[in-house]
Symmetry: C5
Subunit: 303 residues, 5 copies
């Protein structure tokens, strides 16, 4: 399939990058059912690390098997599949080249309570496994905030030099951020902006609520209001914070919910100009046919 106009336009925004990185970004944008639309749906499976295996896979035990997750990503026609080292290794050969892979190179777990993550993979691993890029989580605001940002800088710098894209999970927490504030409009916009300033290729944030969290930001939002009453309006503001929409931003839905709520969110993302969704538990915790049907409903909206 020839590269579409919209994909060519998106690639043109990444003018600081090498042809290698643009090729990998292009692979992601041209793959699957949404290939060529400038939108994407990514299947992420890092919940086994974050919440433990049973909480992640017991609702649909077939998903304990790494091959199942590859098959779900391939058969559903999503744009890419993101997971930690072990999951990607177990299938990397069998499914080589069948779906764009993103190696999540840091991970937290539920046994410790600080706001940090451990490095659990490397850019070299990503290249060895044929990935198009690496994923990295930062917690701006946390006590480990600057350290995580510096780790991202090093990993991202090395990844770029090898033509790999970086996908940044930007999740503020701790510090001056309240619990509700973690999804406040100002905080999510700030999170997206910081990831963009760090040189992220793709930015992943949570869907924002209408809450404004930082005192220092309140007068600004009063004086220059955004359409924060609607989800689409809030998504639009987040896109604005991402270099006026010139960075690819995808949104995560969070915990499993019913289908109509999920689809409503997807419509708002599309309407606000967001580039797509990351859908994990809502897909791999359902039986395969049901999951594929849902992912296709989502992709129908983005098409």
């Amino acid at each position: 399939m020839l590269r579409t106009e919209v994909v060519r336009k998106i690639l043109s925004w990444y003018e600081g990058e090498t042809p290698g990185l643009k090729s990998n970004l292009s692979r992601l944008l041209m793959h699957g059912r949404l290939g060529g639309t400038g939108r994407m749906v990514i299947l992420p499976v890092d919940q086994g690390f974050e919440h433990g295996p049973a909480r992640s896979f017991a609702p649909n035990p077939a998903a304990y098997d790494p091959h199942y997750l590859y098959e779900l990503a391939i058969e559903s026609g999503v744009s890419g599949y993101a997971a930690p080292l072990g999951l990607l290794e177990q299938g990397a050969d069998t499914f080589a080249g069948e779906v764009p892979l993103i190696l999540k190179v840091n991970s937290g777990n539920s046994l410790v309570s600080n706001n940090d993550q451990a490095l659990t993979g490397t850019v070299d691993d990503a290249m060895r496994l044929g990935c198009i890029g690496v994923g990295f989580t930062i917690y701006p605001g946390s006590e480990c905030s600057y350290e995580m940002i510096e780790e991202l800088r090093e990993i991202s710098h090395y990844a770029k030099s090898r033509g790999l894209i970086s996908v940044v999970w930007s999740y503020p927490r701790g510090g001056k951020v309240t619990k509700d504030g973690e999804t406040g409009t100002d905080i999510i916009a700030y999170a997206a902006h910081m990831a963009a300033l760090m040189g992220a290729t793709i930015i992943k944030v949570k869907l924002p609520t209408s809450h404004i969290d930082l005192d220092a930001a309140k007068s600004t939002y009063e004086k220059y209001p955004v359409d924060s009453a609607s989800m689409a309006g809030r998504v639009k503001h987040v896109m604005q914070a991402a270099f006026n929409g010139k960075r690819v931003v995808v949104f995560s839905g969070g915990a499993a919910k019913n289908t109509s709520e999920l689809l409503e969110e997807v419509r708002a993302i599309r309407e606000g100009g967001g580039n797509g969704s990351i859908i994990g538990r809502n897909s791999f915790q359902r039986p395969k046919e049901e999951a594929i049907a849902l992912l296709n409903e989502v992709m129908d909206i983005y098409s």
Copy 2:
């Protein structure tokens, strides 16, 4: 001896790995009395570091001599021998090539009380001594958790690049894990899953009890119950958490106990689909003939 069907199948799970690493894993799986069965018994001797020499070797003073430990591993026909640097060096030449060796590259001691271990060997040492792999302990949950995981990542990455397997002792403790929880079913399954996600070749965990430790996991286990009343059922759940049984998992028996209890545990491991046992104090603290007899009873069960 030609590689058996079951060993070929196990090797096929490690599709992300180099032929070098598969060769070393194959050496372990094809060695000793259980060679070719897909099961293994490993002799570990790191108790001198962990508990001190007298508590480890006074019951059978012949074991103070490193050559004795090599002889026990070779004469009993176990699958491999794992120990810290000094013990392997003292015998590496005399017994070169007679038993697969695993260099334990980190170690704790009983004089300090934090949940950490010190690096006490290197991958280069393992290669110099002709080992097939390295062993590493992590304490998920402890205050040093993420640091240990990052050390593992570096060591494992380098070991893999040199064709050496990694054996991960995954022992949660500290953090949100209670004392009883260290062997809870949810915690052991989580421990095995994290080691698998880290890319461990072989996973070593303790035998699980029927306890469920994390509050966040309780509702999951209520909704999707596992057969936690029987040891075999719990082992089966742990294997499920290890990529649906597609990673080699061995279980440790812990402190010395009577022979019939030990054998009962071994039967449960076999029944639950576990790959084998690590048996230390229960072997080297008995006179050699007695130890060899016991190890053979264990291997009879796995055969």
Copy 3:
């Protein structure tokens, strides 16, 4: 344009430096409306990182787009443009060679409250993007003070070896420095002196007030008074502390203020012998035409 006498004189002060570094400093001194005068106005845009996107760009939403900021720097005729990685990347190709670029390689944010910054760019990034130098903030006095100074040493050493200039934001805070003291005459002079001793090519400090902060310095300033009643007198003392005026020092104006106050400050900087201004929010938060007009009024004073 041939190098002017005053620029030749300024370059002669940097006698420890390579021709490569002098070439890049010369590019900055010869560019834009103030080219050849020995004075400069720099457009810095790191407020998105420091204060968040809405507080920075909502007053003039066109500035959310990185290309707008390049255009503002180019059309206004300022001497250079300084920003974090993402902002420079997005435009580096489109505007290649049209304005001297300075990559700000460390950044703080408003979600954490300690006196530190994270490394967010590298000297290699600066070279890849065609920058003439790197910018770095230090907080002398803070708990991270010596660590930041050591990071500067490494970055500055490497930058120099590649012919890139270093611009040091020297902002004392914390430690023995009171809140008012952060802009005290003694503290600003000390800040400029430390940056000079570190080998900074260009020093950026805040405009000093008449306050003297350190007890240990009070008797000195009583015995050897400086003309601290006038801004020009205070600027003159700061220039003295910068190797008797033999280092380029630029002053920042801080939060947006009215035009006449700003121009008054600029006149004092010129009168005191300062080399120029760094003007951020006062330019990019106004509509483009208004901003260009203001920057030209400023440059008229320096001409």
Copy 4:
């Protein structure tokens, strides 16, 4: 002199090591009055660092001069001389090749009170000065315990790769170790065992008392008693913990004492199978003739 049977036997224990390391160990074992006996007396002079110059050298001011210490080591016929960088440098040329040298590469001082030492020399320094090996102190149990062990691992690994022996001062303190426990039989045996597991070529411990310190070890020592009433019995147990006597272990006498007490200790070391003594203050704090006479009395016992 041809290598003796006993030295050949000792070298055979170090089967994991290179010919280079064995050559250097052989040099030490074949040097001086005890050359060829498998026993050794080493002159250590690190007290200037540990306790200060006056407390070390004022009783015999000639020892302030580094050349004096070389002369004492050479004229007395001891097996080797161990000291920090500065002392070895000042004489390395004058006395090149006249006595085996051991560079002590970490050192503490009496001005700080934590249980740590600073690295004060390198393996490269040792090679530059023609040393046969390096010395390193660890404090198992202390808050810096694991860090010191990791430093030892790195230094020892590099030293071995260059054919240099490592002499480990294993001095438990802090953590679960009581003040009296620092010389308890269980603790000294544990200290020797850990050094052996770390791959130490030569182990240096203090002479043990009959005290048993760790609660966890008491039942073991009750059930499997060692001859802890006599010094020779305790030394024998320590040798057992050192790979059943297959590592060279030397004992330190500690603070200056009268001659007959010292000689009694030496007889116990010999009787218990220890390899020798490290004698510092008891030699260099006496006039040279007196010191040489004493060292010869000691060596007479070991001969």
Copy 5:
């Protein structure tokens, strides 16, 4: 000028060093009015970093200009000039080869209160600027003590390998050292001894008082008294602690004082066998002619 007998003798003490290092030490010993005498006076200007510019240079504002400091060092005929990076760079070309330069590679400042310093220069900088060596401050006893010692070890090792001398400012403080103790006889002797053990080429300490600080050292000084009543006697003891006078030791005078007190101190240094003085504020804070006159009075005493 041919090397004198006394310089040849001093060089012979540095027998562990390369011809490159000896050449640089020789350059220092043969330069200026005291060239060839084995004595030296060094001009240090690090007070701008340590105390701020006004406290350092306001009494004689000409000294704000780095060229003035070079001229003072050259015109007065002192042996060498020591300063941080920025000061040496600004003049390195103009005065290339006219006076031996020592780059001070770490620096503290008055805005922070801990007992540490930041690295502010490198050995490579020293070579680039044509320096004969590097200067480094350690604070034995402080909470950063061992870390500073390890930094010194690394810098000194690299400097030596490049033929550069190391000048160690050994200033005990913190830990077990009382405020008065910082200049106690035992502490200064210990400071000099530790610097010698670290392999320092030249040792810089403060002039000692008759105070004895460490309890553990008091009985030694009672039993083996030094002539601590006279400054010359105390200097003599410090020289003894510096390898029996076989290391070059220079003394600092501290804060500005009247000329006769200063000269009296110099006479005591000469009488006690010290190698010279480091004279900063007492020279650069006076008008140039006055400073040169004073430095010559000092050098007259040492001649």
